[in-house]
Symmetry: C2
Subunit: 417 residues, 2 copies
């Protein structure tokens, strides 16, 4: 019992029957004595239709008008869910972002929330009324609707939960966070709990369960987060476990995780590309001369490897970046050739990044060494390495992705017993 924010994405509210299913999930939590707010996305397909109309209207279009149009998708879902809940005898009311208000910085199409006034919502929740809130949107200083950009509804839900001092359940099409992608590793196990830090590494490394920004926000505001399935029947006995672990995966502070693993998961990302600049002059300032213009072109660089200089005058610099930025990066680098001075630039998009994540690494040595040995045993060459406190990542040939993930999953003892 307490305050609870429940978030449902587009496929969970795709039609009236799916919305009725969502309402039954809400009913269960209301009957369990919770004060509930629901954050909803647009019905699957609706946003695409609205975006397509914008595109037909003009190839390049004003972000303010795009926001005014696209934000109606969530407003429709919120109203429909409120109607269905009322029809089931549960008091409910829909709220658009501008009504609460959810204030944003007003950057249209990619706004960040700045403040949420939860007073009216809390008052009504305490009177037993469910608040159905539009995800993905708020109102900016220009008094116009601004949307939060891709995946924004997860972030909306966590921000609303923070403002209401509530827990947050994210309903999705998977039933939790796994030790590896179950489509690759059949022996992958669902985690009962994972720390915010580990979830952040997983999210940013390509395990597309939660949007990175939503996890950051949950960590900062200490919002207890749960990832769970909207496809599990609302009245399944699995929904409320007696031990309080929940049917999904709880994302929380690490001190709330009793049984800690050294490694909690193996992540991978195929959205990578590698660029090598050969025979660059090895002198102070050369890195700044290369990476400054890339940053100005809004290209995020991930791993950077600089080889030792053989003759004391030249070196090779290799770095990785998102595959979608590759073409632009090559243009930027070629444009700097005369100024920086190098022989040539080579690139490859046939690479993948494999990562081992776990808060236990902080107190356990040998995690990286075990990773390198496991990959070597399978004949997989490592092209670059990067590490953080709770993560080791390597760049490998993309063709070895599945093999590497499976080998590491087994090596760290994560296979299901």
């Amino acid at each position: 019992m307490g305050r609870l924010v429940m978030k449902f994405g587009g496929t969970s509210v795709a039609d009236i029957e799916r919305i009725r299913n969502v309402a039954r999930h809400v009913e269960r939590e209301v009957k369990a004595g919770n004060h509930v707010a629901v954050v909803v996305s647009a019905m699957a397909g609706t946003t695409n239709q609205l975006v397509e109309w914008c595109r037909q209207a003009a190839a390049v279009h004003d972000a303010r008008e795009y926001d005014a149009i696209v934000s109606t998708g969530e407003q429709i879902t919120a109203g429909l869910l409120a109607i269905v809940l009322q029809d089931m005898g549960i008091p409910a009311r829909s709220w658009a972002g501008w009504q609460i208000p959810i204030e944003t910085d007003g950057v249209h199409g990619a706004a960040r929330m700045t403040h949420i006034n939860g007073a009216e919502i809390v008052k009504r929740m305490e009177q037993g009324q469910v608040a159905v809130i539009t995800g993905f949107q708020g109102i900016g200083p220009d008094k116009r609707v601004s949307t939060l950009g891709r995946g924004g509804s997860d972030t909306s839900a966590v921000a609303v939960a923070a403002a209401l001092e509530a827990a947050c359940d994210i309903y999705t099409d998977v039933d939790g966070v796994y030790t590896a992608d179950p489509r690759i590793v059949t022996a992958a196990q669902k985690l009962d709990r994972i720390s915010y830090e580990e979830m952040l590494e997983q999210a940013s490394l390509g395990a597309k369960v939660l949007q990175t920004r939503s996890v950051e926000l949950a960590m900062v505001y200490k919002v207890p987060l749960q990832v769970r399935s909207s496809f599990e029947p609302p009245d399944s006995p699995n929904q409320n476990k007696p031990d309080g672990t929940g049917p999904g995966t709880i994302v929380c502070d690490e001190d709330k995780i009793v049984e800690q693993h050294v490694v909690s998961g193996i992540a991978y990302s195929r959205d990578e590309a590698k660029v090598s600049i050969r025979r660059v002059k090895d002198q102070p300032g050369v890195s700044a001369a290369i990476f400054g213009p890339l940053a100005e072109a809004d290209i995020s660089v991930d791993m950077i490897v600089q080889n030792l200089s053989h003759d004391g005058a030249f070196t090779d610099i290799t770095f990785t970046l998102a595959r979608k930025d590759l073409r632009k990066a090559i243009e930027v680098i070629n444009a700097m050739k005369s100024k920086v001075g190098f022989d040539d630039v080579v690139h490859s998009a046939d690479v993948a990044k494999i990562s081992v994540v776990g808060i236990g690494m902080r107190s356990h040595a040998g995690v990286a060494a075990k990773m390198f040995k496991s990959l070597a045993d399978k004949g997989i060459n490592i092209q670059a390495i990067t590490t953080s406190e709770i993560k080791v990542s390597v760049l490998i040939d993309e063709a070895y992705t599945e093999l590497a993930v499976r080998a590491l999953h087994q090596a760290y003892g994560l296979d299901k017993k």
Copy 2:
């Protein structure tokens, strides 16, 4: 040159190509030096889809949620038209009712506007920015979106024009107001001008060009109104006539109509039904006893005929009402039988109301007499008569509708020369 509100209905904005056509109409008026605001309906079909979703969600549903859902239709059109205008190089901005704000009394699904703050819109119009405004909606004292009910976009447009001290052009699928329905009378002529009073009678009598409420509002606030076609090509030479009469029909004060006709048009309505209560006691208070309960049941009664009492004790009372209310009216009357006392009640839905409308009637006698004679010459029996200062209406057998309209159109010299 001046301030102009242009209103486009659902069929005029049915898809992106139609919206582009609307934008070209707007462009023409901007280039003519006007400061323009546009009021739009939802794309044809969109409102029906939204209403259908509401119905699927629950047969009976909260009007507040219905309003939140259905009002998104106009918000989408407003944004799309703003994008198309910008793409044509015309500065434009969309406005939802809540943003302006257009304040209403908050009666959800059937709200009336109470106040419009046009200051920000006027400021931007004077800077050359076209304001694209959602029709059909505003914001109530409960700070929620409220819709105005059927046909509300015409009324929105006139109210916005009044607030901006602008003229108002209503673009529709006909090119003006005719002396009779052109589908019935091929010789019907388009009127250059018609007075507010005549238009009100036409609108309320079934000539479905403008919504009654919008004409009332235009009359009260002296908004110069024009009915014109959105299907006439935007660049047609017919669009801006040198004599300033406009391509459509101008609805205005009668003192602005130079060449006044005695009769300006013949209207008809088939949405009628007739009820006769036979052998009612002819004594004071009996009319109140009958029509009081009907009014309480929200049934509007139109014509009332009470026959002379033959024996001084009993009379017959006949009245007309909207056909859709007939069944309910019969129930109400049967329920009062023991209290009022009468023999029986008979009813008929096979009736039509034919009306002759014209401000010239005030100063010309014999208009009614000519009507009765023309109908008698064709063998058409008159079942009831009602008159106002500028209108004579008769109830006839529905089968004679076309014959009566054509005969009267010719009798009053309205046939095209």
